[in-house]
């Protein structure tokens, strides 16, 4: 956009043999305002796209619960890294109240929370126990407990 703007101005200045006259200045301002508005529109569009991806959780039946616990719009995953733990906390608040059918979501959120904490040298025992308590089958899961959880779910 800026390149186009300067090409237009220089061509105009050459044709009229008057460098940077009033017309050139108005052209310059026109393209500048166009470039700025385009940049803001793009920024807004990108933010909206990030938000729509970061807060998208399918099959939400309880709208009130959804409104209360989905992450605030000012927190996105692509914000600076200090927002990640805040984002995870808000996601956890949301997923922890969901039914057993959403256990994979709980595992995902808790896993990323624990990973982030671990990268900072923090080993949160309470959250780790919460993580282990999410019913699932893995190579290390106690089979007796896992089977009991499956029977409970049925």
């Amino acid at each position: 956009m800026l390149v186009l703007m300067f090409v237009q101005i220089s061509l105009h200045a050459r044709n009229t043999s008057i460098r940077y006259n009033n017309l050139s200045l108005s052209l310059f301002l026109f393209y500048l305002s166009l470039a700025i508005s385009l940049a803001f529109s793009l920024r807004s569009l990108i933010n909206q796209l990030y938000l729509s991806f970061s807060t998208h959780i399918p099959m939400i039946h309880n709208t009130k619960h959804h409104m209360q616990h989905t992450p605030h719009t000012h927190v996105t995953y692509y914000n600076i890294s200090q927002h990640h733990s805040q984002y995870h906390k808000q996601l956890w608040k949301f997923v922890v109240g969901l039914s057993g059918g959403f256990n994979s979501y709980k595992v995902t959120v808790a896993y990323h929370q624990l990973s982030l904490a671990q990268s900072k040298g923090v080993y949160d025992n309470e959250r780790f126990m919460d993580y282990l308590a999410i019913p699932r089958y893995t190579s290390y899961t106690n089979p007796v407990w896992a089977n009991a959880q499956q029977h409970l779910a049925q």
Binding site: Y50, F53, S54, T55, H56, I57, Y77, Y78, L91, V95, S104, Y105, V107, T108, V109, Y111, H112, L114, S115, Q118, Y123, N125, F128, M129, L132, A133, T138, S139, Y140, T141, N142, P143, W145
Partner: protein, 61 residues
Amino acid sequence: MGLLEGVNDDEKLVRDFLLHFFREKEKVDIKPFQHYIDEPYLNKVLAEAKLTSGAPDTEKW
């Protein structure tokens, strides 16, 4: 989920946490974890934690 990548294999994370907790205390109680985690797996990680942390009674492990 959203922008968070799905979890394919979390064994490494769980093992790292267990190793950390087992290395932290001299007298380790595996009971809190036993409910959720297979006992042979816990014993294996406990032995690894003790052997790599320079515990005095290595022969026990």
